[in-house]
């Protein structure tokens, strides 16, 4: 699984796309970028089966009679993408044993949003990981139920305003912190887990390749900017995505279940070595309408500091896990 693969931009650009143009995802949405990068990282994309949880990606790519998917693709329901995938994996395994399927068993990749992963689909995901099916679960995390119109999920960050955690006169957005989904999956101790950021595409594709080549379950946590839900101009999508990692809000790391080691990677590794380059979270927050109440009508230094302190606390925890002494 530790094969060294350093893809060049040309190599990646030349690989075919398996999500085709004409889908109806919003301009500025990171989800199709995440899908493209994921499938460009798969060594044998022609022998791939895709599973999709209910959500923006599913709805906007398959309005009957059209489909944007150039690979076999199944959507079952919201909470059961991982269970559905385990059935697909098991079927090909049995068909292979019986000699009905003669090729390599297909690579099975799941795409699920944060609602389908952190909340309603957590049980099915945990079960499928525990059973050890060989599949790759790609979480595109846009930090709320965007498909139903921006409701808070277990992934919505502290203080973010959503339609069910509005910034009110008394309660300033979501009172709870984001669930550490990557650590939860890593705690199963049998899955390759990595966080990725589509802006840092090289780190992204290298990790996805490791994930699909790992002989067991794997989990990729991609931050997925949402201009409609986060309230920013679509042109800022990748800039905001970059800041998520540059501020250490979405640090890049991976967990190897064989060695039980956490490794900080890519831009985050650079920041671990050069802490002075870490950008204050305010730079990330102030670009997004969902955090506007932290700046207007009155600037909420207390809340901004609370967020900054929490981010640094979690960053330090990660540094410790990854063996950085500080």
């Amino acid at each position: 699984m530790q094969k060294k693969w350093v893809p060049t931009p040309i190599e990646i650009a030349k690989k075919p796309d398996y999500i085709l143009p004409g889908h109806r995802l919003c301009a500025g949405c990171a989800a199709p970028i995440i899908v493209k990068l994921t499938l460009k990282a798969v060594p044998n994309p022609e022998n791939t089966v895709l599973v999709n949880a209910t959500g923006c990606l599913e709805v906007a790519t398959t309005i009957f009679p059209y489909t944007a998917w150039k690979r076999p693709w199944i959507h079952n329901a919201f909470e059961n993408a991982a269970a559905t995938a385990s059935g697909v994996v098991a079927a090909f395994k049995a068909l292979k044993k019986k000699g009905v399927w003669k090729d390599e068993e297909p690579t099975v990749i799941v795409f699920g949003g944060d609602g389908g992963t952190y909340d309603i689909g957590l049980q099915a995901l945990s079960g499928a990981i525990e059973r050890g099916h060989k599949f790759t679960y790609v979480l595109y995390d846009n930090e709320a139920y965007m498909n139903t119109g921006i409701q808070r999920s277990g992934s919505t960050p502290f203080a973010a305003a959503t339609t069910t955690s509005p910034a009110g006169k008394v309660i300033p957005g979501k009172p709870q912190w984001k669930k550490p989904i990557g650590f939860i999956i890593a705690a199963h101790m049998n899955a390759y887990v990595a966080t990725v950021n589509p802006y840092y595409w090289q780190d992204f594709v290298v990790k996805v390749r490791k994930a699909v080549e790992y002989d067991g379950p794997s989990f990729i946590h991609a931050i997925s900017t949402c201009d409609r839900g986060w309230r920013f101009d679509p042109s800022l999508s990748m800039r905001i995505s970059k800041l998520a990692t540059d501020t250490c809000l979405h640090p890049l790391w991976e967990f190897d279940p064989e060695t039980r080691e956490f490794k900080i990677t890519g831009q985050s590794l650079y920041l671990a070595k050069n802490p002075d380059k870490i950008i204050p979270v305010e730079e990330y927050l102030k670009l997004q309408g969902r955090f506007r109440h932290l700046f207007k009508p009155v600037r909420r230094d207390d809340l901004i500091k609370t967020i900054q302190d929490r981010v640094m606390k979690e960053w330090k925890y990660l540094l410790k896990l990854a063996g950085f002494e500080s």
Binding site: V51, F64, P72, W73, E79, G87, V88, A91, P106, R131
Partner: protein, 412 residues
């Protein structure tokens, strides 16, 4: 030609496991729940002993069991599961999806009362709660019929004119846990090869001008998208196609039953309904599951007394065989419909409502009354049925005032 068989002492759950062993599905995904658990226990022994090449997926819930079956069937495999009661309720969302995706999944249901209050014993409320989910539904009377019907179910489900999932129901504990002599084929290949024709062959469809397998097969010239968003411009047509498939299932159930009978030597009526002493009957009772066994005993007793009473057991519940009901009951004066299911807020039990609706089409209609009985495994002794049957006789003679619904064997 009837194939060689051997007798085994099996309860209904074990008979199901033996049927699954002889079919050798590609994937069995299941979760334990009383009174179904013996099925997955026995089947996992067949897996552990290397008797089947099935992938046994012990999922973390029934919801995931059905979800995994959907994935496995969409991948082109044969998928099987088993459940009961609350487990079936938990699956409910995915049952509708499985049938709309036209996936030939087979599921055994050991009928059990639905919580609450929690109760592990027999009634049909669990199956009745999913009667509109688009699954073909068969009800068995004993363990032998369970073995035979589970095998038939795969062939019904996979028929290209059907392509619908099938539920095989049988009474929890009364059948699931009661041992009887069951004849099973000596050679599993009679089931796997001769009857089912080898591994499942997914249906072929036309997609963008090319013939493709209706599956997730990556080798398809045009990849298939399963489960797209389907709005007001197509949803209705797809539902209409689904209801046509359900209509098609009626004949296929009969054909498969007959084809299987040639191998096994066993028949259950015509595969759809099982009439008993109905030809000259003036009074008919309608029921499903194991109760007809006791009812036949009472009917024999009453026949000896010269009372013209008979029984219509429904083996097929979905699609509902309303034409058979009209045909088989058109000459009787009184019909008693026995529902072993809850009737909360309804005009009567579900079997009653649909049977009565079917008979409404007749020019000269019999009186149709309902008995709700045996909920939560309440005992159903012959005397209890005798009491009800005597009441039906009374209605036919005009000595008992007709009613719509009564509850049998309950303390009021």
């Amino acid at each position: 030609m009837v194939e060689e068989q051997e007798e085994r002492l099996l309860n209904g759950d074990e008979a199901t496991a033996w049927a699954a062993y002889h079919v050798e599905p590609d994937v069995v995904a299941a979760y334990p729940i009383t009174p179904q658990t013996i099925i997955v226990e026995r089947f996992s022994e067949f897996v552990a002993d290397g008797l089947v090449r099935t992938e046994f997926v012990s999922v973390e819930s029934e919801h995931s069991a059905m979800s995994a079956c959907v994935g496995a069937a969409a991948a082109g495999g044969r998928a099987f599961t088993a459940t009961a009661a609350n487990g079936l309720q938990l699956m409910n969302e995915i049952l509708y999806i499985a049938s709309s995706l036209r996936l030939p999944i087979v599921m055994a249901v050991a009928n059990r009362a639905v919580s609450g209050p929690i109760n592990i014993h027999c009634d049909h409320t669990d199956a009745m709660n999913v009667r509109d989910a688009g699954w073909v539904m068969l009800f068995c009377e004993d363990a032998q019929e369970v073995y035979d019907t589970v095998i038939q179910a795969f062939k019904i489900a996979e028929n290209p004119n059907v392509l619908l999932p099938v539920i095989v129901s049988f009474d929890g504990f009364l059948i699931s846990h009661t041992a009887q002599k069951v004849k099973v084929f000596k050679d599993p290949s009679v089931v796997r090869e001769k009857f089912l024709g080898g591994p499942r062959k997914p249906a072929k469809i036309k997609l963008m001008g090319q013939e493709v397998e209706l599956s997730l097969n990556p080798k398809n010239p045009v990849p298939v998208t399963f489960g797209p968003l389907d709005l007001y411009d197509y949803y209705f047509e797809h539902k209409r196609q689904q209801s046509l498939a359900m209509q098609n299932a009626y004949n296929v159930v009969k054909e498969v039953h007959e084809e299987y009978a040639r191998l096994s030597g066993r028949r259950y009526g015509d595969g759809v309904t099982v009439p008993y002493k109905l030809d000259d009957a003036e009074i008919a009772v309608v029921a499903m599951g194991s109760a007809p066994g006791t009812m036949r005993y009472v009917i024999d007793e009453m026949r000896e007394e010269g009372i013209k009473i008979g029984l219509l057991r429904l083996r097929l519940f979905r699609p509902f065989p309303y034409r058979d009901i009209m045909e088989k009951l058109k000459h009787v004066k009184v019909v008693g419909v026995f529902d072993r299911a809850q009737d909360q807020g309804m005009m009567g039990g579900p079997l009653f409502i649909e049977t009565r609706a079917a008979l409404y089409e007749l020019e000269s209609r019999p009186k149709v009354v309902n008995y709700v009985f045996g909920l939560g495994g309440r005992d159903t002794p012959p005397e209890m049925f005798r009491e009800a049957f005597d009441e039906l006789v009374g209605i036919s003679k005009g000595t008992v005032k007709p009613f719509i619904r009564k509850y049998l064997g309950v303390r009021e």
